[in-house]
Symmetry: C2
Subunit: 205 residues, 2 copies
DNA sequence: GATTAAATCTAGTACGCACTAGAAAAGTCA
DNA sequence: TGACTTTTCTAGTGCGTACTAGATTTAATC
């Protein structure tokens, strides 16, 4: 009973790693098996199909990202500025997806290259995740520290998008850390790049 | 000499459309051929391999995006605010990638799911494209209207990332247009979502 | 140490993929 | 029309894929 759990974990880890770096298609059952020194057929003793295995990796990825953000928000003082909550969440997300383990990275990286069944499962997880951000933005707008003339849903997706796309260019070896990326996203999106007065008038969409 | 050019164009169009909606792996030579009512083998009279065909589609995509942004910038008055240039470029990009044809969409959509050879070709095109944005940001910082305490390269990638990721959620059927998305990105990234005073102090990375 | 259960392996199937060779058809122009 | 070229089709190859069946080994239990 013990051995099985250990190998199962090894398979999940190898899959997450491969998905994060090589993507869905290049992640073959055979390559996963090779990574942990097994035959490809042996994988099927632990998982009934490739997509069930991949699906489990993706679920773990979203769960870890959610946990990271939730934990960061829980540490805020009771009377925090809503913008500070947004800042903490953005940085937590950046660290989870860029600097964290393979699971959240696999999740974001394979977005958009999955077969329909998995895409559906994937999107469901993202929807739940999005609700955290919806609340953060709502808090800011309703308490008057964030602009109310922007479409909140679009704003949310733009923030998440900027963070998710960072996986395509972020290089852990460079001097810019995952937290730095998060801080930049926050600074740009909340305070703006502009010096002094805003550039043009408000929009209404 | 005429017939060949026309079918060649049909093949490119069908490939762009399939790449934009289904991605690289799901875009098979057979499916492309079916779309235009041909046998898959006939494709090889016009293109020597799938990847040569895909590569050409991607090149067209980047070219169109570059053209769209360049054209928008060319229409600015000589004494324009650097932030206005950024705004115009962001909206032009959004319209090209979200509301435009299949070619730019194919380009962004398949980013990160291509085989190594094509990835290299792809990245080269993006690098050239990035230079346009580098210049826009540099202009803003050097003329004093954009903050100088942010890493310009990171800022550039965050803007482009927010725009590129929009392809994953943007729905042309909804009431939010491609230009609206661009306007939102600009408002958030340049003016910020914050009302009044910035939230916390400057960063230095 | 023998018996049973768990885990892995060997060997194979079926299928979809990109791609090829050569025959057939369609178009071009005297 | 007839000779020639361009374009498309028919029919197939080889390969990598996910996955299966049954034998074989490894581990746990009495």
């Amino acid at each position: 009973m013990k051995k099985s759990d250990r190998t199962r974990q090894d398979i999940l880890d190898a899959t997450a790693s491969s998905l994060a770096t090589a993507g869905y298609t290049a992640t073959t059952v055979k390559s996963i098996a090779e990574t942990i020194g097994m035959q490809d057929a042996s994988i099927y003793y632990h998982f009934s199909s490739k997509d069930e295995l991949v699906g489990e990796v993706l679920d773990i990825g979203t769960a870890r990202a959610v946990t990271a953000v939730d934990r960061a928000l829980a540490e805020l003082p009771d009377d925090h500025d809503p913008r500070e909550a947004l800042r903490v969440a953005i940085i937590a997300h950046a660290e989870a997806v860029l600097g964290g383990g393979d699971y959240p990275r696999a999740n974001v990286r394979t977005f958009g290259q999955l077969p329909p069944d998995l895409t559906h499962r994937h999107r469901q997880g993202h929807r739940n995740y999005g609700q955290i951000w919806t609340r953060l933005i709502d808090d800011g707008v309703e308490s008057g520290v964030l602009r109310g003339d922007l479409n909140r849903s679009v704003a949310r997706l733009i923030i998440i998008g900027a963070l998710c796309w960072a996986i395509e260019w972020f290089d852990a070896g460079e001097e810019v850390s995952a937290a730095d990326v998060g801080e930049h996203v926050f600074q740009m999106v909340v305070n703006g790049m502009s010096v002094g007065q805003p550039h043009s008038t408000a929009v209404s969409v």
